[in-house]
């Protein structure tokens, strides 16, 4: 498979009046064409920031990429001109956002919002051709085409997310970033949306970055998984590598322990001890050492490198024996 996206040593910080928030701290990530990558981690781990970085739409004046490269299809996103960026966004890389309630413009009809993508990226299409495409994509996501003249507030949450997906897919991008697309939806709708995404991925062959904190979704949808903690990827590998649950980063283990198991008698879930580190004041050494049950003196002094075993990479001294691999 051909490499589509290559993030190298990415550092992103948010400069607010009160403090500097270190949101992403040296992330390396590779996504290939057609590959589905799950990006997992708890809230504030830097998943969305990484995604916004790929599109270079970090909040103006606040978000700042201090180091690193994002190479998309051979071109560095960070060096692209405004024009190139605009041409890339939506056309080659598009994004589905977390909250369908707020991510659609409330005063523009959904049809026009989908149509805008075509207007921006397929200027050669006639009005009728565009209308046809809008109808098609609506049908594809399961919304009657005649409802395209309605406004977002006239749709339910799940329907809105379907529209979000339609917007993201209408230009048939090479890479789709889905930022917790189901978090804001209730469970039955979640299942429908996931089903839809699975189907679309199969039909359109789009590469996917699935951002979620739900390990279940990843297992269902993704080929590879990266686990993020405090702005770093602490573990990456194929779904099999990670879900075997034999060798995992202690944080990943913690995440797995948070999933209720139907077949077990345990009454209580085992949460990870302590709290997420303060991104304005990151600890030295391994970011997870405060919460890690296997912590050693060394963890507080030195940040572990990525140790590799086949496709599986873990940033933890416990797997030092694997030998150093490419950074993650």
């Amino acid at each position: 498979m051909k490499e589509l996206l290559n993030i190298k040593n990415l550092y992103v910080q948010y400069n607010t009046d009160e403090a500097v928030v270190h949101a992403v701290n040296g992330v390396d990530l590779i996504v290939h064409r057609g590959e589905a990558m799950g990006l997992v981690g708890e809230t504030g781990a830097g998943k969305t920031t990484t995604a916004l970085g790929i599109l270079n739409i970090l909040p103006e004046q606040v978000g700042e990429i201090t180091e690193g490269d994002i190479v998309y299809d051979g071109k560095n996103v960070l060096n692209m001109s405004k024009k190139e960026l605009q041409a890339m966004r939506g056309k080659q890389v598009s994004m589905i956002f977390q909250d369908p309630m707020t991510s659609l413009n409330p005063i523009i009809t959904v049809g026009n919002q989908i149509d805008e993508m075509l207007l921006l990226h397929f200027k050669e299409l006639t009005k009728e051709q565009r209308a046809q495409k809008v109808d098609d994509i609506l049908k594809l996501v399961g919304i009657p085409a005649e409802r395209k003249h309605e406004y977002p507030f006239q749709f339910s949450g799940g329907m809105k997310q379907r529209i979000g997906i339609a917007i993201a897919l209408v230009c048939q991008p090479d890479l789709l970033i889905a930022d917790e697309p189901t978090t804001a939806l209730d469970v039955t709708i979640q299942a429908q949306i996931l089903q839809l995404m699975k189907q679309l991925k199969r039909e359109l062959g789009t590469a996917l970055i699935m951002i979620t904190h739900d390990l279940g979704i990843v297992a269902e949808l993704c080929d590879n998984v990266s686990v993020m903690y405090a702005g770093e990827i602490v573990e990456t590998g194929t779904v099999e590598d990670i879900y075997q649950r034999i060798e995992n980063h202690p944080y990943t283990t913690g995440l797995f322990n948070c999933i209720p198991k139907l077949d077990s008698n345990e009454k209580r879930l085992t949460p990870i001890a302590g709290y997420m580190v303060d991104p304005t004041d990151l600890p030295k050494g391994c970011k997870f050492h405060d919460r890690c049950p296997y912590v050693t003196d060394r963890c507080g002094r030195e940040n572990p490198k990525a140790y590799q075993n086949g496709t599986h990479k873990i940033k933890c001294f416990r797997y030092e024996s694997w030998g150093e691999g490419d950074s993650i």
Binding site: L85, N105, P106, L120, Y151
Partner: protein, 309 residues
Amino acid sequence: MVKYILKRLLLLIPTFFLLTLMVYTILSLSPANPAFMRLGTTATQEQIDEINHELGLDRPLLVRYGTYMWNLITKGDMGVSWVMQTSVYKEFMERLPNTLLLTALALLLTTVVGIVAGVFAAVNQNSIGDRTTMILAMLLISLPNFFLSLICQIVFCLQLRWLPVTGAGSLKHFILPSIMLAASRIAGQVRLTRSSMLDVIGQDYVRTAYAKGCSKRRVVFYHALRNGLMPVITNIGNNVGNIVAGAVTVETIFAIPGVGSMLVNAVRSNDIPQVMSPIIFISLLVCVVNLVVDLLYAVIDPRVKLQYR
């Protein structure tokens, strides 16, 4: 929509009557007696009674109010000034165009400059342009109108000789007054537009728009502006009331014979017929403008429009 407009227009009627009645009552409660105003210290009780009778002041308040309104509605008769004994209608109509022009210009200025500057400041948040705009707005809001007018008169009329100090002869005469009238409201409008636009620019759907590949211009004007204008438009309705009220001072300073100065003079002399017509005009204007604003709202926001169906 038509039904809604009709409903709103119908609602104007009780508002109108309640308002005029209130004004009429308050004016009548004033200790000032128009008979004394005309007769001076040499008034005898007999003369006072005679004038009171002539003006209908010996009848109950509600009867007087009723008569006034009846004459106004059925005959368009605004009565006769108690002090000057001249037709109120004639004077009112003579002054009306000046006030309409002044307030229309000021409102246009407020709205256009306020929105443009506000959007500019919001889009370029924290830039030098933004800071300058905000400091200017702060200055305009904190300088009293008469003081600002005086300074501008000295600079533009006396030093530079660009504009006339007083009068209402040509459009040129209205330039400075309308700017002065708009000044403090522009400041408010800029600040409101800026914060409203900033709010919208921070919304998820604006991020969506960027992610779609929209240019900044398209994001601002197509996606953000209309959403950001909602509270701004409500404010335009409020501005009309404020501007008409401000016209009172500005008309006096710049010697523009308008409805505002008519109102001031009439209130000073407790000349009820003379007070009523400007008040009715102002209140109707504010009511109608607010109706228009509500309708505008519906044009811009489909959610509101659907409510009115």
